[in-house]
């Protein structure tokens, strides 16, 4: 990651139950300058989001992730309860079209396999939108 891509320490909550994927993308985002909180399930993600001591700017979640709810339900919860928090979903294209339809305000779902750079671009976009509101 080149020095010009360094960004302020905004907080990204990564929700992914595959540790090898979570490790790689979390490591990359930290290299880009973000503070990263890792959750291995939506249950863990909700614990983080409900902790008043923690601030989250963007949730980056696998759509088909472990937990009592999936990533789509997590995104809907965030939209209903954490209005200022952006959401990026990633998953298989086959489920994207219909399931993500209600979440289009956050942009189309990223499909797997994704490039870490594409995630950073999406995060930048969401944070820019957040600053304008």
């Amino acid at each position: 990651v080149s020095s010009e891509t360094k960004l302020p320490r905004e907080v990204v909550l990564v929700v992914e139950d595959e540790i090898l994927i979570r490790y790689v993308i979390s490591d990359y985002l930290r290299e880009c300058g973000y503070k990263v909180i890792e959750a291995s399930s939506t249950d863990e993600a909700l614990l983080v989001l409900n902790d008043t001591n923690l601030s989250v700017d963007v949730v980056f979640s696998n759509a088909q992730v472990a937990g009592a709810t999936d990533g789509f339900a997590l995104a809907q919860w965030v939209r209903a309860n954490r209005a200022g928090v952006g959401v990026i979903l990633v998953g298989s294209i086959s489920r994207a079209a219909d399931a993500a339809a209600n979440l289009c305000e956050h942009g189309p779902m990223l499909s797997k396999p994704y490039q870490p750079k594409a995630v950073v671009e999406r995060i930048k976009l969401l944070l820019a939108q957040k600053r304008q509101t």
């Binding site: 540790i19 090898l20 490790y23 890792e38 291995s40 863990e44 614990l47 983080v48 902790d51």
Partner: protein, 137 residues
């Protein structure tokens, strides 16, 4: 293997720049404790990989991910608790240092090949000091 007795210390941190950055695999199923401890260890100058279960830790340890020390809770959900993880490491990655933590036990389970044990609550600073001591050439 002798288990290092751990006592809280206020000694200043050693110069982390004089060593390669140690890689720590932190295995803890309580997300808020995991993120706090991981952050504190990163602030101490370590590279930290987070695993939420023994199963995740084993999946990672089967790869070429660079790791020097494993800090693991004992009681965790899944097929592999901290004791099972310690046995896996002894059998497959015996070069790694292992530090166990527990909120229930006051001493490590017998038969585990580990380097140190912390009862919860523990200070990440003390864990950091111990990791430096374990990795000192």
């Amino acid at each position: 293997m002798d288990v290092i007795a751990v006592a809280p210390t206020n000694a200043p941190a050693s110069d982390v720049n004089s060593f390669p950055v140690p890689k720590v695999l932190l295995v803890e199923d309580e997300v808020l404790l995991r993120l706090t401890t991981a952050d504190e260890l990163r602030e101490e100058g370590f590279e930290v990989i987070e695993a939420s279960s023994g199963d995740e830790a084993i999946a990672l340890l089967k790869t070429a991910a660079p790791i020097d020390v494993v800090v693991t809770d004992i009681q965790m959900p899944g097929n592999t608790d901290g004791v099972g993880l310690a046995h896996f490491i002894a059998a497959n990655r015996s070069e790694l240092k292992v530090i166990m933590t527990s909120g229930d036990l006051r001493a490590p389970p017998k038969g585990c090949r580990i380097n140190a044990f912390f009862s919860k609550p523990y200070e990440a600073f003390d864990v950091a000091q111990l990791i430096r001591a374990l990795l000192e050439p």
